[in-house]
Amino acid sequence: MSTDSGPEHAAPAAPGKGAPRLRLRPATTMHVRYRDDLRLFPNRLRRSALAALILIWAFIPVFWDVPPFTLLSGNGISLNTLAYAGVFSIAAIGLNLLTGYTGQVSLGHSVFLAVGAYSTAYAGSVWGWPMWLWIFFAPALGWLLGAAIGPFALRLRGNYLVIVTLGLVFIGEHIFRNWRSVTGGNAGTSAAGVELNLGFVDFENLSLFGKSFGKDESFFWLIWLLVAVVAWLTKNVVRTRPGRALQAVRDRDIAAEIIGIDVGIAGYKTQAFAWSAAIAALAGALYAPLQLFISPGDFTLLVSIQFIAMIILGGMGTIYGSIIGALVITALPRLIDGISADYGVPGVAAKSTDSGLVSVASLNVIIYGFLIALFLLVEHRGLAGIWVRIRNYFSTWPFSY
C-alpha cells in the first residue's frame, strides 16, 4: 500500500487508552484529489507489478521451451501466435480509442489495417524503402485516410455511422481486389522483400549477449515493444485533457460541444478517427512482414468484427483491456486447434476428413459470436471489468469498501 495517496481528512479520532492501535490504510478505490485520480500508477504495488509483468513478457522468447510456458507451446500456441496477438493488440488499442473512448462504433477497422499492410508491402519491396521509413509511412497514410473519413462522423451518428463504416469494408475490399498493380488483386502480394533492418539491429538475424535469435524471437520483441509504446502513448492521451474531451464526446456530443470541446472539422471526433486509423495502419505495417503474404481475404468484415470482439471481451474504454482481448481472441482458435488435434473435442472435426458437428473454423466463428453475446449480456465491461472488481476487492480487503 502506498502512503502518498488517500484522503487527508480521514484521520480517525484519537484512540482511547488501551484501545488497539489502528493502522491507517488509504481507500484505494476512492480519491479525493483529481491528481490522484489521474496518476498513471496509483501506487507502488501496481507499478512494480507492471514492471515484473513486462520483465517476464520480455524473457518469454528465451524461456519458451522451459516448463510453465510449454503448456502453451505444446498446445498450438507459438511465439508467432503471440506476435500476431501483439499486432492485433495495437489495432485493438486504436479501435478502443475510437469506440471505447470516443463512442464512434467502426466496423471499418480492417480497412485501416489493410492500408498499412499494403503500403508497407509496396513501399518495402517495390520501392525498397528502409525500415525506419516504412514504419512511419504506413501510419501517415492511415492517418490521412482516417482524417478523410472522420468528417462523415460529424454528420452521421449511431446506426447510420455503423453502416457507413460497413460500406467502407466493402469498398476497401473491392479496391484491394481490383487495384492489381499495387495490391496484386485476388492473389495478393508478397511482403517477403520488406527490409527488416534498423541499421543497428537486424530483425532477421538478431544477436544479443552472444546468442543469436531467429525471426520469430526478434519479431516478438519488436512487436511487443511497439505495443508497449502505443499503449503508453494512448494511455497518456486518454488520461489527460484530450482523453477527457473524447470521453465527453462519447457520453453526449452536444453537451460536449456546449462546454467548449471542439467537435468541428478538425475537432476531437475527426482526430480520434485519424489517430485510430494511424494506429491500425501501424499494426498493418507489422502485419505485412509477419504474414509475409497478404491478400484481400485477410481484411474482411470478419476481421473488423474480431477487433470489436477483442475490445468487448477485453473491456471498452481501457487500454490493457484491448491487449488482454487481443491475446485471448488470437490465442483461442490456435488453442482449440491444438487441443482438438491432440486430444479431440466432442463434436468438433479437427480435419476436413473427420466427421463432427462443426469444423474448427466454424467453431471459432461461433465462439466469437458467443463471446461477444456473453460478455455484453453478463459483464459488459469485459475482462478488464472483472479484473478491476477482483483488484478492488483485495485492495480494500477485508472491508467491502
Binding site: 454528420r155 446506426n159 460500406g167 481490383n178 468484427i305 458437428l357 461461433i366 459470436g369 461477444i372 453475446a373
Partner: protein, 360 residues
Amino acid sequence: MTAFWQATFDGVASGSLYALIVLGFVVIYRATGIINFAQGGALLLGGYITYNVSTSWGWNYYAGIVLSVLVCAGFSVLLQRAMLQRVFREVVGISAGLLGWATLFYNGATHLVGLSGGVVIGLLGWFATARIEARYGDRGPSELPLFGAIMVTIGVLFIVKQVVASIWGFAELSVNDPWELSTSRVGGLVLQHSKLAAIAMAVLALGVFFLVDRYSRIGVAMRATHFDHEAAIAQGISTKIVFATAFAIAGGAAALAGSAATAGPELITPNLDFVVFFAFPAMIVGGLDSPAGAVAGGLLVGWLQNLVKTYIATTPEWFPIEDLDWLGAGFERVAIFIVMIIVLMVRPYGLLGTEEVRRV
C-alpha cells in the same frame, strides 16, 4: 433501350427482395431502435427450410415457404426475448435446447430427431424455469444498451450461419421450385418467371404489411410505440407484444426474401446472408424508420445496381469514358455503397426517414 428496360426489370426484381429485407430492419428499428443483423440468420434459415421442405422432403413448395415464414418468425421472437430483453426462462430454454440438440446429434441421432429432441428439451427447460420463477419471483426483463444489442445480433448471425452450414453443408444446392428456368419474352425483354414471382411475393407481403400497419390495432400500437415509448405504455399498449410482433414480421419477411432469392436459376449456399449486407444501403437510403422508405430505397438500390452492372459491361456511346473495365468485376455492389454515402451526406436520415431531434 432494351438493355435499359431489361436492367429495370431485373432491378425491380432484386429491389423487391431488398424491400422485403429492409422492411424487417425498419420494423424492428421502429419498435426497438436497434439494427438487427440477425435478419441475415433468419434469411438463411428461411431459404434452407424452404429448400429442405420442397427438395429434400419433396413436399409442396408453397408449404415450404409457409413453414419457413412461421419458423423464422418464431426464431426472431425467441431471439428478441432471450438475447435482447434477456428473459431468464427463454435464455435457459434456448441454452438447454441447443445443448440437447448438440448432444443428441453427436450421439448419432439424425437431424430431425436431434432438432425435435432439442426443441422438446428446450421447452422442458422453459417450463421448469417458469415454474421456479413463479414460485420464487422472476428477474424480469433487462434491456441491453444499444451498441451491445447490435453486437449481440451480429454474434447471433455468425452462430446461425455456422449452424446452418453444419446442417446443410457449404455446397451450392438447387431448390426444387415451380418456376425452374422458365422465361417469357415480351418485346426484346426476357422475363424470368422466378423474378416475376419474387416481385409478386414482395408486393403481396408489403401490401398486407401496409394494411396491417395502417388499420389494425397492433399496427397502430407499433406506430404509437415508435412515436413515444412511454406514452404508449401509459395508454395501455403492451410493448412486449409490440416488440414480439415487430420481430415476428421481420423474421417472416426475411424468410420470404430468403426463399425468393434462391428460386429459379439461383442456388442456395450459407453465404446467402451477404444479401443482407447489400440491403443495408437500401435501408439507409430509404431512411431507417420509414416502411415506405424501405420500399423506395429497396427499389432504387436494386435498380441502380442492375443499371451499373449493365452499363459497365457495355458502355453506352454517350458516356465520356469509353472503357470502364478498370472499375473491376462486381463494381455494382460497391456503387450502391457509394450512392448511399452521397445520399447520407445530403440527407443524414435518408430520403424518407425522420430527422432525430437531439437534445442535451
